[in-house]
Symmetry: none
Subunit: 226 residues, 4 copies
């Protein structure tokens, strides 16, 4: 795995490292890559620019490191539930949908950052972005669906790769709706009729689940016993 950080950064004590990472996440997620200001990141972190640039050679490297770091944090959220053999596919999907709605509240900056990265748009910069999170996630989703097919929970006629891709799209869209202003507004446009109703989240969750179950699962009453 490519490394974007200098040794010296890893020698720092955890508290300081954390401060710097948080300062960078906040700045990048507040203003986006271009508008983020390295001097301000240093200031937010309570260190000098000189130090910042001794830890990371360039603003780009700092950003890439932060993204990589964010990926790890997000991976942890998906956690062990997904690997749990006992859990049904339906339960795992529910876990992910709930996470997609809940995570943004706890790690808003991190998810914005993630969105920011995907927005780098269209320069060569992008090729240096670490896609480890995507690969990891993709593999996990595909495996869940494959296993679900074997167990008779998931529709046998689906191409698991593509089904996993589309499912992930749904998760991602949900996360964005709960972390980025633009997507939040978009959600509100759709849910305008509800405005003022409580328990919106619960409703979003249950409807999204209905959607995904319909798309992916074999209705319980039709499942063959194995």
């Amino acid at each position: 795995m490519r490394t974007f950080v200098n040794e010296s950064f890893n020698r720092l004590d955890a508290e300081k490292r954390e401060r710097i990472i948080r300062a960078a996440i906040d700045e990048f997620s507040d203003r986006g890559y271009e508008l983020a200001n390295t001097n301000r990141i240093a200031e937010r972190a309570g260190i000098s620019v000189g130090s910042l640039f001794s830890y990371f050679d360039t603003k780009e490297n700092l950003f890439l490191y932060i993204v990589q770091y964010g990926s790890m944090i997000i991976e942890q959220y998906t956690g062990e539930v997904m690997e749990d053999e006992e859990k049904s596919v339906a339960e795992k999907i529910e876990y992910m949908v709930r996470l997609s709605v809940r995570a943004p509240r706890e790690e808003k900056a991190l998810l914005r950052l993630y969105h920011e990265m995907s927005s780098l748009g269209n320069n060569d910069f992008l090729l240096r972005v670490p896609h480890s999170l995507e690969s990891f996630t993709a593999g996990k989703y595909i495996r869940i669906l494959e296993q679900g097919q074997k167990r008779g929970e998931v529709r046998a006629d689906l191409d698991v790769s593509l089904a996993a891709f589309t499912m992930d799209n749904v998760f991602m869209s949900l996360q964005k709706a709960y972390s980025c202003d633009y997507y939040m507004i978009r959600l509100q446009i759709y849910t305008d009729p509800w405005i003022g109703e409580t328990k919106n989240d619960e409703r979003v969750i249950s409807e999204t689940l209905k959607f995904l179950y319909g798309a992916l699962l074999i209705p319980e009453n039709e499942r063959k016993e194995r």
Copy 2:
């Protein structure tokens, strides 16, 4: 509807207006909002900066106008098919999925631009973005599903607002995968196993349709006659 453009722009002859719009679309979609350069836009358009700023008060306004303009173009693509009473919901969905894969080829810059806007991320700027396209689209999708429910094509237990939202998410993700580098790479991660196979597009389309039909439609053999 808020207007971001000065009168003087509308008095221009169509050819010049078109030139300016294209120059702006290209520049914004090539470099993203922050990196786009108003001087270069003027140059690309063959006019002076002074003129450009007499048509649009600020870079922001220019961008917003361009996005609004792009929305109109994209709206046209969805066209009359969607309103056609003769067409089934399944046919309309198929039309949209095919469009999501095809449109990026024809209007890549426009779609990137659209993505660029959604990436503006998190500043007050965003609140001024025209959401007319979203509102329009949202309404259309909701109506289609409502009608589908009446006709017995669409699952009756769905909340149409939310179902439309999720369906739109799937369309959007598809469009991004075919117009923005980052999302293209992400798609490739999922479809790695296929690499080298031909007819990828057709496969993406058919699998996405399977997904959406499963999520939204009542299987034909279960439909009640009305």
Copy 3:
């Protein structure tokens, strides 16, 4: 001839152009290339940095232009005397020696600048430096000596290229002694015994001439009539 300047600069009125050139010459010759500050150059010239960088793309280009400009000025000094068929080689040499002592007083900054360029030391930058002055001067000196050989004034056994080179070295060293602190001190070390004596310049001139005549010319009484 490579051009380091943008069109816009040439469109400026002469007075402003002169001001900018002088400001740059002064700054570069005062502080040397690395320490010269483009913001200060703009300030000295009474323009904005923005303007300065619209005339010259980079500090490097500005410097190169200034050097090229300086070369032209210096060339003019050598003037027509050198081409005058009536003048003897001895007279031409005397002219150059006197010029080498006098010019630094009138164009100290220019000559320092020239020295500064030769001091850029050892980076690829150097290869972009215009050597037109050198080529021009070299050609002129070589021609003078060749003609002198034909006329029987210059020793026939000399290789004119190398003799011209060494003669030029002597001129250059003299110019530096009169324009750059370091070389001035060096001259003083040699002439320490004289300190306090007046007419030092005249003495330097006459001794340098004696040196060069001895090296290059056939004593008058030994010249063959042609």
Copy 4:
């Protein structure tokens, strides 16, 4: 003689001292004074910056010390030959010319350094530069010429101070032509016609000698016996 170094440096063992000096010479001659980096010098020398700055109070002092040191090395090259009573002036001049061509090959960095110093151009800094080498050399050259006059080898009408100065200028120009890129290019401009010929060095040497002999010496057949 002013000292630019702290006691602590002299207490170091010779090997370490040498390492530091070489690192500094290399860095200064590679990049020039302004671009030379003290952190890199320390690194090249395998010591810490802290130590470096305990030996030398400032970058300037380090540079001045290094120049002084280089002077000593170069002095050694002129060696005893110059003092040898048996040798004729012609032989001594030939020795110096050959040295001027050869030395740069062996001590390129040192000579560049020397050139770099003379390029410091025009700041008060310069006044602190050690001119011991110049004084030493000047004295030596003057003495040689004086002795030559007494012996009837050197033209009696010359002012030895000035003749020595000009002769030194010729040596210096030669050294620069063989150690600094700019002056190398200048030499090539003069010797363009020769390009491709071998034995260029030998030719430069013999022509330079012809030049200097003509300038300084009494032709052998005209010498009075003493």
